[in-house]
Symmetry: C2
Subunit: 379 residues, 2 copies
Amino acid sequence: MLAWAYLSRVIEGPSRALQSLLDAGWTARDIAAGVRTRDPAVGGLIKETAARHRQCHPEADLEAAAAVGARLIHPGHPDWPAAELDSAFGFAARQAGGRADAVAPHALWVRGGSPAGLCAQAVALVGTRAISRYGAEVTGSLARGMAGHRWTVVSGGALGVDAVAHNAALDAGGSTVVVAACGIDVDYPRRHARLFDRVAENGAVVTEYPPGATPHRHRFLTRNRLVAALSLGTVVTEAAWRSGALNTLSWAEHLGRVCMAVPGPVTTAGSVGCHERIRTRAAELVTSADDVRALVGPAGTPDSAGQYELDFGPDPVQRLDRNQLRVFDALEPGTGRRAGEIAATAGLPLPLTVHLLVDLMRAGLVRLEGELWHRGQLP
Amino acid sequence: MLAWAYLSRVIEGPSRALQSLLDAGWTARDIAAGVRTRDPAVGGLIKETAARHRQCHPEADLEAAAAVGARLIHPGHPDWPAAELDSAFGFAARQAGGRADAVAPHALWVRGGSPAGLCAQAVALVGTRAISRYGAEVTGSLARGMAGHRWTVVSGGALGVDAVAHNAALDAGGSTVVVAACGIDVDYPRRHARLFDRVAENGAVVTEYPPGATPHRHRFLTRNRLVAALSLGTVVTEAAWRSGALNTLSWAEHLGRVCMAVPGPVTTAGSVGCHERIRTRAAELVTSADDVRALVGPAGTPDSAGQYELDFGPDPVQRLDRNQLRVFDALEPGTGRRAGEIAATAGLPLPLTVHLLVDLMRAGLVRLEGELWHRGQLP
């Protein structure tokens, strides 16, 4: 554990050099010893750790983590989200021209539950810090809808969309995961300290950075790959032209995850980023948690399509085709007409008219009384 | 002309039987005579006109039209929009499983300018009658944006989106075309009588239905094919799940036109139809007149992409990649640091750090004074 803590401190991920050694069967202890003694066998790590290999106090880091109720997990640990990380970074590795930084974290500091358990059925909801009322409404609705179906909501713990997503999931009695871009003992943003406490109780706060690490812009970008990796899909609920959330969406694509975006009013700049990704087919358009679950859930989940039918479905007259409508419109409410008159008004041949009248009768829209056709069913 | 007026009255289009005779070189006069005398040579038209061939008064129809300042045009007439109709219905005819009713109108009643001239560069803006404040804003903005670039705005003259589109185009000093679903002498909806007068002065009102024809639901659907055919593309600006505007969009697709839809808030049902078409790739997502012109305008018009850059473009720091950001963030405003210190803070090798500092200097983000690197350009 001390070796993992040392590596977490001395190597800022993602590190392909470290990953290669782990893949080759090196233990954390051997790698740590190699870095400390500048053993050429650890290859690229010598260079990567040149500036920091002597300034490490892994015991102090583990103590600092323990002081806030956090622990360190690593590959092989039962809480390690191996399936999620393997599938995501394995996918990236199989892509031609993959990103050099598409590498799994080597260790994770965790406050709260097991990332392995929490992320088995998880979706990321991300977006702008400059959230609008609309963005808050949409994000809250999606988070509640996912949490209500036992999906873990993953996000970055930032102001705006992230905060609404975490809070809404918690309020719905669900689980949520914050992937932080700083040390596990650093509350950033500071005003989210209470939120992070709540998350730790009903989910987890995780980070690949050692205790005390301050949030830096590059760490936000690196962190975004974990938000994408730890969920089956990423939804951008509100994002302007250039938003960090779009970076998370790009990671989702690169890691083989489902990419989704929610459209919004075009009269403000708030959803420009979402629209751009939908327009370029880089993201699926989603409008509800039902839509999201239909895309990321077990294949064939028939959640989505039926929803609209229920709420905004057509009435029987709207289902009619053009010729049926011609005939239907040739009947006036309250007045019976003979088929010949109806045909003349509709401008259709009599046999076709009769055929269509029978269609309408089957649909319950007209009835025949004697020789007269009427609108409506038999009383 | 009397023959065309007779055919317009006696045959309610679209009529494939009539189109076949015209394609075979029959004149309107010969066809009219054939219908009147029940000559078997006119084939299917005998059946189509069974109910009405004796009730026609073409002179009266032409007079009724003239009384409202309208005229009848037909294939071969200089105002006939031959290029538009030929390309649209020609496209449909080449499709396997084409619609039987994808047939050009045989004649058009026109009040105002020349459809041939007006529709040479035209786009259709259509949508719900139950327009929202948002839909009105979007529709008005698109109509003004198209009219301002000398595009004719085509729509159906209905309440809601159609009315906003026509009015906004006129207010912007542009041209607009109403394709009506009733006789040229019938103002429907009645409260649009003044709008139609304005349109006739700065565009045209057109219909394939003879004078006095009342608006019927099947005529709205048939009319929609002309809205789509007389424009290079159709934009649905606001449409709920089941909206006639979506029928126009389907026609646009069937006629080989560009299909577009504007997204909107997902928190109301107003844009559900638009989202559905975008989601299923049946329509391109557009958010502005620039977007529309980029899709329907001459190939390579570079309108769209640049627009956002201008309004919401990234600043130079946002353009940095991850490692550049690590280095940039390792410099604090107002304080100079040596490259070695920067490398240690950034956790990057010194040579790479120097390389990245030079990148940043070229981008005007840092400067070197003596041995110290500073944020910002030389004063």
